[in-house]
Assembly symmetry: C2
Homo-oligomer: 342 residues x 2
């Protein structure tokens, strides 16, 4: 149905349209790429491609433009992934190596990705639920107040303050802390929650009845914290890049900006393609109406297993090979990062 030349034509159309941002006609096509045939032949091929729905013309007697379906074919079979230059790789490494914090890692990653791809970058924090507990700390931060600090092996720190009824006895908190760490340490968060429940039942009845309510308060808050912090965070950078380039979707720009501020929406978009490797969703393929004109290139990242996802959002007319290369490279480096830095 589609012979090699037709595929070559489609590839050429995509490449030209991406770089010039203008509908591309048969003449300019043969001029720029040296396909060994005449414009007329190309026109016939283009007619077929249009019939099959891979390209379309914005209006009669304008050049052709790839459709979502056309981009999809391009990404799957024609474009490939363009690896980064050694210089770029080095720059990535140097930039990320300076990070001291988990926050810092994420922050640098998202900026880097935005700059590298010149598009909007989105990075999800390493999920807590797939992380395991490294330490739990209980601090008395004032009369009647206890602060819980939970530290995971991905370097994330979560804190919460609990109001407890009264001043507790001296040894209560250290004791509770020791017990909790004993059962939670090294466990996955989901498992840790179960461990807390179990511990609550096995706890010896405390000497002081007030202590019992304190323990109760702390444990419920802790469970709340575990539960609550599985809703993950994402950070965004490079929104200004949306204004670059032919303001082809200038009216939908507001809608896109709105979507970028909705954590849950971004989360869903990132996770829609579950593949741990780099994946692409083009135009209408993603579920959000307001993002019909945009594509999302995403990838999981992590050390041994995928702990979260990152990606970029840009117009469907984007440089897929380059973007995919950048996303893949950054995802890998961040993965390494997480293994040794924290």
């Amino acid at each position: 149905m589609l012979d090699d030349r037709k595929l070559a034509v489609l590839r050429a159309i995509v490449q030209d349209f991406v770089s010039t941002e203008e509908p591309v006609g048969s003449k300019t096509l043969v001029d720029r790429h040296n396909l060994g045939v005449s414009p007329a032949t190309i026109r016939n091929d283009m007619a077929v491609l249009e019939e099959e729905g891979y390209i379309a013309q914005p209006h009669t007697s304008a050049g052709r433009v790839p459709t979502d379906k056309g981009y999809r074919l391009f990404v799957d079979r024609l474009g490939g992934v363009k690896p980064l230059s050694p210089a770029e790789r080095k720059a990535i490494q140097q930039f990320l190596d300076c990070a001291v914090n988990l926050d810092d890692v994420v922050d640098r990653t998202v900026r880097l990705l935005a700059q590298l791809t010149r598009q909007v970058a989105v990075v999800q924090y390493p999920s807590l639920s797939s992380a395991s507990v490294r330490h739990l700390e209980l601090l008395s931060t004032g009369p009647g107040r206890v602060m819980l600090v939970l530290i995971t092996d991905t370097g994330r720190v979560e804190q919460r303050v609990v109001e407890v009824p009264v001043v507790t006895s001296e040894e209560l908190l250290p004791d509770l802390r020791a017990r909790l760490n004993a059962v939670m340490d090294g466990k996955r968060l989901a498992a840790a929650d179960a461990a807390v429940v179990e511990l609550a039942q096995q706890m010896p009845a405390p000497a002081n009845p007030v202590d019992s309510t304190v323990i109760d308060a702390v444990l419920t808050s802790l469970r709340g914290m575990i539960d609550d912090s599985s809703d993950q965070r994402v950070v965004v950078a490079g929104a200004a890049n949306l204004t670059r380039g032919g303001h082809d979707f200038s009216d939908s720009l507001g809608l896109v900006l709105e979507a970028l501020e909705e954590q849950v929406v971004l989360m869903r978009l990132l996770n829609e393609a579950g593949s741990p490797d780099v994946s692409v969703r083009i135009g209408h393929e993603n579920s959000l109406e307001s993002l019909a004109g945009t594509s999302i290139v995403a990838s999981g990242y992590g050390h041994r297993e995928v702990v979260a996802r990152l990606g970029v959002i840009g117009p469907t007319r984007m440089d897929y090979p380059g973007t995919m290369g950048a996303v893949r490279a950054v995802a890998r480096y961040v993965g390494h990062m997480l293994s040794d830095e924290k």
Copy 2:
């Protein structure tokens, strides 16, 4: 020089222009506001106002538009501050009361402010340097690794991991922690830094020579953390609001978005007007070239003293009284919030 009527005319021009977004002429002016005079009189007044630089016309024979100077006069002497409706106040309170975290407070505040003013909201985290130390925790998170967790009375938590040469002796960390807390507790961060230095000198020479390097590593990292974390963070929300309204500065939109992603820039903008109360910077009054078309309404917030600032950024053509009212109200509520919640 400017009699009462001329001021009234200026006020009317500002109000009309803000609501209609179109240059306002003498006729429509007398129609909408019932100044008891004829258009011709208004024209004379407008000529004077223009001569003085309070208004300008985009082109001959179009209506008049307020200049930055005109807005300034309006804000200082004519507009006043429009208090929020009781319903709005209640909504603010309810929305903010749900916050559990410092992060949560800031997050909710910035969203609230964006929604209330329908503009871009900016909230600065309570500064660490004006905060005081509530607790310092040292945790061993693995062989050769120590995590520092610093908690301030504003509820902020800062952490950092230190690589130490070898496994430390059992009592070293608890001992060090006790000493550090003893000298730092309750101190302002700036003072705490000095206290750490002093402590370093007074420390008895440890039994084990390796311990000495550990102590060194921890203390330098701690000082780095104190120093480092005085660079504050800001969060932004409502960027989508920039696209609302007549795309009068559509070309500069990209520049504004870029500015919004630069933490340092935002910080400077917020702090430019040092007044603890609500302050306004109009158009070219703020130092950034790319924000020439925008105004910034900001205010300090905090419980007893100003711990940080918040504000909104919008087009110079904005509803100043309403915006100022919203900013003031939110700043106050967040102040209350900080006093008791954390």
